[in-house]
């Protein structure tokens, strides 16, 4: 059933509505039903979650009798952003994921954020699906604030991702949806996968399998689910090695994503098309595996080109 989570009238003949689709079992005792919320589209340029929502609903509909709990699907938290190819909230130039928990008496964006938190609160699990940004491609991964790792790591293990990244707490992250929900006792997993403005079907299918696995774990799904893959877990910031551009130019990648590299292996080149020169050979600074790779070619000095997990952790 389609429900409206929040709505606000815009200046000229248009109503902004945030919608969700609630799927409930055909029969059973609703008092014992658990509830999972699948959220995406907080960043309007991240579209991988669009296919995940579609495929999840399609598969549930195909075996509706196996459903034994509530599934809430929120495909577009920032509908104006998605429909206008804008990452933030258009007209406000604000990152929606820096507005939570919002304020019911605040301005439009704060109000929407507050209504979203209010609506998801009470879920037994929330999965917030992001797709990196237009610059970087990410291997399917779950990012966890160390403050919430005891609750979230065991759940993330069931989510069929390749990598779980437990990162340090930061005050800035206190204004994310995930932080707000986790501190309201709604365990919330933040998925990052793929790249902005694209749909990577293999990653989406992998994530849908992961959501069914989580639903099974919670008792929301009675059908068979594939065994989730065993993720690499990193809890130490030393495990991750950042690769930043040494100079401005055009970055051309020469490696495959999620491939093992030896120290000194070529990752790509930064080139200068005006002079026909190579400005920098970008090489792997360590032995490891590339879990983030630069997709957007134009780089400034400092732009992130990739992130590697050190070899030591892979063999641990």
């Amino acid at each position: 059933m389609i429900e409206t989570v929040a709505s606000v009238g815009l200046p000229v003949g248009e109503v902004l509505e945030i919608k969700k689709n609630r799927i409930v079992p055909e029969y059973g005792d609703e008092k014992v039903w658990k509830r999972i919320s699948i959220v995406t589209g907080i960043h309007g340029d991240e579209l991988e979650g669009q296919y995940v929502c579609f495929e999840l609903l399609r598969r549930i509909a195909a075996q509706q009798d196996k459903l034994s709990g509530i599934v809430d699907v929120y495909p577009a938290m920032n509908p104006l952003g998605i429909d206008s190819i804008t990452r933030g909230v258009p007209a406000f130039d604000l990152d929606m994921n820096r507005l939570f928990p919002g304020d019911i008496n605040g301005n439009m964006t704060e109000y929407l954020a507050a209504k979203i938190v209010e609506d998801i609160t009470g879920s037994d699990l929330c999965v917030d699906i992001h797709a990196s940004n237009i610059y970087l491609t990410e291997i399917p991964q779950i990012r966890i604030n160390e403050l919430h790792k005891d609750t979230l790591v065991p759940l993330a293990m069931k989510a069929n991702v390749d990598f779980i990244w437990v990162h340090g707490a930061s005050t800035v992250l206190e204004s994310t949806l995930a932080y707000s929900l986790n501190s309201r006792d709604v365990p919330t997993l933040v998925v990052e996968m793929g790249v902005g403005m694209r749909i990577t079907k293999t990653y989406c299918d992998q994530m849908v399998d992961g959501i069914f696995s989580l639903m099974k774990e919670l008792g929301i799904w009675q059908g068979d689910v594939p065994e989730p893959r065993k993720p690499i877990i990193s809890e130490d910031e030393e495990d991750v090695c950042f690769l930043n551009a040494a100079t401005s130019g055009i970055f051309v990648q020469q490696v495959k994503h999620w491939e093992r590299l030896k120290k000194g292996d070529m990752v790509g080149q930064i080139i200068d098309p005006l002079n026909g020169k190579v400005l920098d050979d970008v090489v792997s600074p360590v032995n490891g595996i590339l879990f983030t790779i630069r997709e957007y070619p134009v780089v400034d000095a400092g732009s992130l080109l990739g992130r590697l997990l050190r070899e030591e952790i892979l063999d641990r």
């Binding site: 606000v8 200046p11 820096r98 005050t171 800035v172 055009i250 780089v299 400034d300 400092g302």
Partner: protein
């Protein structure tokens, strides 16, 4: 006066990014003034240009006392100003969310680090900043409640108001906050506008800074003492919010006194021209902030009032 390139990035096709600093006097790092960090902060840039002009005269006249160095950075982000974009051109990040910066990090972290490294030891730090909502302000000095804030010192600018506000999660990455952590006496100064030039409040800011420096014994300046600043807590201001979206027609301006019940603005149906909402003053007060765009969204605080107490 000495003109210096404080930070530089080589670009692929654009001219190199050069962050310029103007140094006056010699000796102890006394005062650093930073104008725009964002591409739409034109008034902030303008105020700094007026300060550079003024300090050049003062220096020639020997009115900057020995042992004091003053640094003015009109903008740390000419790249965004030149293309009329608020945030960093390539990745839309905000330099004022990157402090103290990281010299091996991403581009805007590097810019923040490159600048902060050169300005963190100043005794006083002044930033001309802007609000995330479009609107005009009554000129004021704004401080975050970090525990390091010195309200009495802020009053020495002689601006009409000193506003204190609670810190928010993202504040830890702003210049002002990091200055305070490094024990710089940091102040944000708001003049009336951001995207348009307001000469009157710009001149007030110039006078206020000179007044402050004269009181601190840094320059020789005999202007008027300015105002006896009224200290206001941000959350004590009374917001006036729209209930509906539409065309916004203000009836009062920033700085005006209003009485309870007075009509402050109307919203108008953009198709049919009818008045859809009449906004009235909920209290007797002074208009401290006023929305300055022709359209408004619902739930927007289009005015903020400082309560007038008898």
């Amino acid at each position: 006066m000495e003109k210096k390139v404080l930070y530089e990035i080589k670009a692929l096709y654009r001219d190199d990014l050069r962050v310029m600093g103007y140094e006056f006097g010699e000796g102890e790092e006394t005062l650093c003034i930073l104008g725009s960090l964002r591409g739409n902060e034109v008034q902030q840039l303008y105020v700094c240009s007026q300060l550079v002009k003024r300090f050049t005269e003062l220096e020639k006249q020997g009115r900057i006392h020995a042992g004091h160095k003053i640094l003015i950075i009109p903008t740390a982000n000419p790249y965004s100003v030149n293309i009329k974009k608020r945030f960093w051109p390539t990745d839309n990040t905000d330099i004022n969310r990157m402090f103290p910066g990281y010299d091996l990090g991403e581009t805007t972290q590097r810019i923040a680090a490159g600048i902060f490294d050169q300005i963190k030891n100043y005794k006083y730090g002044i930033q001309f900043t802007s609000f995330y909502m479009p609107g005009n302000f009554e000129p004021h000095v704004r401080m975050m409640k970090t525990g390091f804030e010195d309200v009495e010192m802020a009053k020495r600018f002689g601006m009409p108001y000193v506003v204190i506000r609670e810190t928010r999660p993202y504040d830890t990455t702003t210049l002002n906050y990091n200055w305070q952590i490094w024990e710089t006496h940091a102040f944000s100064i708001y003049t009336t506008t951001t995207e348009s030039i307001d000469k009157e409040s710009a001149q007030m800011a110039v006078r206020s800074i000179l007044t402050f420096l004269a009181k601190e014994g840094v320059v020789d300046y005999k202007g008027h003492d300015g105002y006896l600043s009224q200290v206001v807590i941000d959350t004590d201001m009374v917001p006036v919010r729209t209930k509906v979206s539409g065309i916004f027609e203000p009836k009062v301006k920033v700085g005006e006194e209003v009485v309870k019940g007075q009509v402050m603005a109307e919203t108008i149906d953009p198709y049919e021209g009818n008045v859809t909402e009449v906004l009235t003053a909920p209290v007797d007060g002074m208009v401290f902030f006023a929305h300055n765009e022709p359209l408004t969204y619902a739930n927007t605080a289009v005015f903020k009032l400082v309560i007038r107490e008898e």
